[in-house]
Symmetry: C2
Amino acid sequence: MRLVIARCSVNYAGRLSAHLPLALRLLIIKADSSVLVHADGGSYKPLNWMSPPCRLDEQPGRWVVTGKSGETLTIELEEILADSSFDLGIDPGLIKDGVESHLQELLAAQMHVLGEGWRLVRREYPTPIGPVDLMCRDAAGACVAIEIKRRGEIDGVEQLTRYLELLNRDPLLAPVQGIFAAQEIKPQARILAQDRGIRCLVLDYDSMRGADDGALRLF
Amino acid sequence: MRLVIARCSVNYAGRLSAHLPLALRLLIIKADSSVLVHADGGSYKPLNWMSPPCRLDEQPGRWVVTGKSGETLTIELEEILADSSFDLGIDPGLIKDGVESHLQELLAAQMHVLGEGWRLVRREYPTPIGPVDLMCRDAAGACVAIEIKRRGEIDGVEQLTRYLELLNRDPLLAPVQGIFAAQEIKPQARILAQDRGIRCLVLDYDSMRGADDGALRLF
DNA sequence: TTGTTGATTTCGCAA
DNA sequence: TTGCGAAGTCAACAA
C-alpha cells in the first residue's frame, strides 16, 4: 500500500464523467493497483477511485489508471508532500453478526412462535421472480409466505405483494397469506401491509438469539 | 487528516456486530473525527469505519470511536509502524456528468425516435404520487408515460405502474400507455413490464449524445 | 460468468 | 427532520 499526499486534479471517464479541481488530497494505491482519492471529510466513500482489476501507468506528474472495461482515472500531480509505502499482507477479513440471513435462520428455527402447529416448508422458496424468504404452512395446512427485512420499508411490502400475487395464481398453493417480518417496521410500510391484508411481525434479534419467544409480537 | 499504519484488531457494535482479527492495516482519521480502517485490497469500502458525526477517545493502545446514535468502533492497537498528520483543507468537490437527468434531457429532445408524430407534453409531469419523467402523446394523440432509469430494475416498473394506475383514473387522459426506458434493463424487470403491457426501451447514452437514432431499440 | 439481493449502504434533493 | 430515489453504488451468494 502506497500513501501519497499531493496537490492534484482528477478526471474520471467511465459510466459517467467526473472532475475534481486542483486541491490537496490523500491518494491511496493498494496492492492490486486500485486507487482511492480521499478528501479530509465526507464519509468512507472516496471522492474518486478506480476499482480492481485495473492497471496503473505512472508517468512524471501524471497517473493514468485504466479499468477492466476501459474506464480511466487520470490524476494530474502538481505537488507531492508525502509518499510512503507499506507491505500490509493479506487481511484475515471481517466477521459479521446480525444481518438479515441470521434473522431468517433464527425465525426458521422458531416457527412455533407464529402459532401452534406451524411448520416450515423451505427457506429461499424459489419463484420465477425471486426467492421467498420463508415458505410455511399454518396449523390448517394453508400456505404462508414470509418476507424478512432488517428494516421494513415500503419496498419490502411491494416485494412480498408480488410474490403473493404470483403464488396465488397456482391453484395448488392458493390461498397464500403473507407475513412481513422485520426488526423495525416503518409506519408507511405497516399501513401499506395492513391495507393489503399482510400481517406485520416485529423481530428482536437479541431475544431471538436467546430463543425468547416473548420477543415476537404479531400485529 | 491522520494516517496510521498499525497492527490492530477492531470491533464494531451498532446495527450489527463486526470483528476484525489482529492484522496490519491503514487507519485514517479525518478532520471530522471519522475513522476508516483499510486493508491493502478490496475496493473503496473500508473493512470497518465510523461515519461522522462521531467522537474519538484516544487511550494508550486503544481508540474508541462513538457515533451519534451510540454505536461504537473499538480499535486495539498492538503495534504502530507509522503515524503522520496533514492539513488538507476543504475540498472543492466533485463535478459529475452523465446521470439520469441527462438521459431525460436527451430523450425529451429526441421524441421522434419513439415514432412518427410523437410529441412531448412535458418533463416531470406532476401527479399526487410524484412526477412522471416524460409525458407525451403518440401520433394518434394517445397519452404515453415514460419512466427513465439508468439501470432498469423491478422497482422502476412498479413506480411506472403506480403512475399509470393513477393517470388512467383520469377520463381526460385515459387510456395512458407506459414505456420503461433505461440504459440497461434487467430480465426480471423486462418480464414484469411486458406482463403489464409496458413497453421497454434500451437507451445508449453516448449515441444519444450524438443524436444517433439507430441507437434506440424498442421492444 | 451472470444475475439478484442486501447494506453499518452513502448521498443528494425536496417537502 | 424525514422521506424518497440514485449510485461509477459494493459485495456476497446462487444459478
